[in-house]
Each structure stands twice: as C-alpha cells, then as structure tokens.
C-alpha cells in the first residue's frame, strides 16, 4: 500500500473525477420520501376499501352461513385489501429505510407508524366518499378481484342459502313478484304473509334484499323483505 494518498490523488486528476453535485442527492432523498408518502397513501386506499366492506356488510344474516358468524367473518375478511396494505407498508418501509438516517428508526415503529397513517388517511378517504365506485374500479383493474373479495353483493347471490337480492321487474297482486337477481337470472317470487306487510316498496325498479327459501328451479318463497340500501347511497 505504497502511498495510497498519492495514488488516489493521481487517479482523481487523471480520470478527472468530480464529486457528484449536491442536488442529485437531494433529489434522490426527496424522491424516497415521496415514495414513502405515496406508499402510505396507497395503503390508505386499501384501508378505506376495508372500512367500506366491513361497514357495508349485512352481518345480520350470519345464521344462513355454515359456522354462523365465525364462518361469515372468515369468508368476509378483505384478504385482498389486507395484502395491498401490507405490500404498500413494506414499500413505505423500504423507501424510508433508504432515506438519510431513515435506517435509525426501528422496523416495528416504521411499520406500525405507516399502518397508523394509512388507517388515519384511510378513514379520511372513507368519509370523503372514496369507496363509492371503488369496487367497480378495482374489479376492472384486477381481473381476479371478485373471487378474492366477498362483498355484500355476494351475500345476496345465495338463493340456495335463502338470500336473494335483485330488482323488481313486475308486481302481481300483493304476493307475487318477478325479480331479476344480481347475475341477471329471473325469479318468480312469492311473499308469505309475514313479508307482505314489511312496508318496503315493491314497485318495478325497486332494489330489494329477500330472505326466504328457494323453491324449485326459479321460485323463491320470501319471509322477510328489506330495501337495498348501502352506506354509499
């Protein structure tokens, strides 16, 4: 290691090496902070979607599911959005870690802090109305979105378990309806006496949730009628 100082000095001069400009490092650091903020915000979108899915769910029908409420909870957990949140939380962590001195923060604090920020911003987005239409957007964006997320719509696609949702096409008398379900199938619906006086509008075009039992191929006997309402409506 003969006179390394001279060697380095010579190399710097002969190769005309210059220190990279300060702005380059500032831009890099700023970009990392922006990526961190973006990741946290995208995590917030996932949280907003989760809040929507949880609050918009019809939990009261748990009796129609195998294993009751626990069964309904297990199939309704928004795994897709949890995965999205974890993905962006990981991205936030790695970006923060690469900022100047970002590595000084404990992993648990960064991950916890990022999730907390996502929850706060997610709540703001939720109450700001973001989840309205989010489902359709997500479904368009992610081809396998529907099988991954069990929503309120999926609950009312369960004629076999006694849950049917759709739009009234025709009303005949006080007991008979024709209904188009959420997948476009036509059902002949008969209201039993308890359902007749529910007070729910059953005029053509009304969107309803029906609880009862399937009768044959396209028949459905109704014991309870509820209007279709959503927290976004």
């Amino acid at each position: 290691m003969d006179n390394l100082s001279d060697q380095i000095d010579d190399l710097i001069r002969s190769r005309k090496i210059k220190p990279r400009p300060r702005w380059l490092f500032r831009v890099r650091n700023l970009s990392l902070w922006l990526f961190f903020a973006s990741s946290t915000l995208l995590g917030a979108v996932a949280v907003a979607a989760m809040i929507f899915l949880i609050l918009d769910h019809d939990w009261f029908v748990y009796g129609h599911f195998h294993y009751g409420l626990l069964g309904l909870i297990l199939i309704s957990i928004p795994y897709f959005w949890i995965a999205v949140l974890l993905l962006f939380t990981a991205a936030a962590y790695f970006n923060l870690h690469r900022t100047k001195q970002g590595y000084r923060h404990e992993t648990a604090k960064v991950v916890g802090g990022s999730i907390l920020l996502s929850v706060i911003f997610g709540a703001i987005l939720f109450f700001g109305g973001l989840p309205y239409g989010l489902r359709d957007y997500s479904a368009g964006l992610v081809p396998f979105y529907d099988p991954l997320v069990f929503t309120k719509l999926d609950i009312w696609r369960g004629a076999d378990r006694g849950l049917l949702g759709g739009t009234v096409l025709e009303q005949r008398g006080t007991q008979d309806l024709t209904l188009r379900d959420l997948d476009g199938f036509i059902w002949q619906v008969k209201l039993e006496s308890a359902a007749e006086n529910s007070g729910t509008k059953l005029v053509p075009g009304s969107q309803v949730r029906l609880i009862g039992r399937r009768v044959g191929q396209d028949g459905f006997a109704v014991t309870e009628v509820r209007p279709w309402d959503s927290i976004t409506e």
């Binding site: 290691m1 390394l4 001195q101």
Partner: protein, 197 residues
C-alpha cells in the same frame, strides 16, 4: 494553508475543503487508509492486494459521493459504511465466504478478553485461545458487529450508522453475538481438550 494545518483539521472541515480543492482529499485518505485496510482485512479473508483494490475503490467512491456526506454523522461512520458495503459487494461478486484472518482474530480475541461479561465466564488460562477458535465459527453478522465494537472501538450509534441498522438492533446483535461467542467457546472441542487434557 500549510500541510500542517490540514492535519490538524477535523474530518468534517476537511470534507468541506476537499469539495473546494481536490488536493485536500489526500489528508482524509492518509488519515483513514490504515484503519480501513485493517477493517476490510478483518471482515473478509482476502489477499492484501484485493484489500488494497477495495480500499482504492472506497476512497474513489467516497470522493465521488462527498456531497452526500451527512454532517449529522461522523465522517468515520460514513466512510466505514462505504468500506463495509464495498467489501460485502466484493465478497458477493466473487462468491467468497467471509472467513477469518488469523492475525487479526488474535487482536480481536485479545480485545474481547477485556469485556466484563465474557471475562467472568471464561477461564483466565485458555480464554484467548478459545475465543479465537470460537470466532472462526461465528455468523458473519455477529462477527462484524463484534469487530466494530471491540476492534474498531465504535459506539452503538456509530455501528448503527455504519451498518444502517437501528441502535436497538445493534444492541440485540451485539448481545446475541456475545452469547453465540460464549456458546462457541463453551462448546469448543479444542478448549475442552485443553482444559481437561
């Protein structure tokens, strides 16, 4: 300014001066070349020529990135980090396993002897030999942190800045490193043979 004045300047001041005048950088090189050379040789079993190549790259990279030096850190932590990263990159590039350098292991073993936790648990007579042998079987991450703490005499914050890990993680690593070292020393066949032979 005379050369003598440069030698008296603090690292951070020399960085600022080197950014204005490339010739000043040689004083930083002179100040750190021996320490970094020893550090590189300690964490990687490589030839002197390879260590010198790495060292040259370290100083050139440090110069190119001089504007990235954060004055909130010690310059020594910053340049040790570059040396650490460059050595690891070199090892990965050549797929070499980090092993030991016997001469430096002895220095480290001697240094570790004075650590009170270990001192209490090891016999006076065979401690250095056992520690030296145990170090050979230590995980790289544990060996690295022991080297920085006991051979390079870095405090937790400096180790944190060099390895880019939180201080809490450094403390955990050190604690585990010492525990693994104790276990290795305790289970060292040579040590057992010597003490019972």
């Amino acid at each position: 300014m005379e050369e003598h004045d440069y030698l008296a300047e603090k690292d951070e001041k020399l960085v600022a001066l080197a950014l204005e005048n490339a010739g000043v950088y040689r004083f930083l090189v002179a100040r750190y070349e021996q320490r970094l050379f020893r550090y590189i040789m300690t964490i990687a079993k490589i030839t002197r020529a390879d260590a010198e190549d790495i060292l040259q790259t370290v100083f050139l990279k440090a110069y190119q990135n001089l504007n990235d030096f954060d004055p909130d850190l010690k310059f020594s932590s910053w340049i040790y980090r570059i040396a650490h990263n460059e050595t690891i990159s070199h090892l990965r590039r050549f797929r070499w396993h980090r092993t030991r350098n016997t001469e430096l292991d002895e220095t480290l073993a001697e240094t570790l002897r004075s650590d009170s936790d270990i001192e209490q648990e090891l016999s006076q007579k065979y401690r250095a030999a056992a520690v030296r042998l145990a170090l050979q079987g230590l995980d790289g991450k544990y060996r690295e942190v022991l080297v920085l703490r006991y051979l390079e005499d870095r405090d937790y914050r400096e180790i944190s800045d060099i390895l880019k890990k939180p201080v809490g993680t450094v403390a955990t690593l050190l604690s585990r490193a010492k525990r693994q070292l104790r276990e290795k020393v305790a289970g060292e066949k040579f040590f057992t043979d010597v003490t019972h032979g």
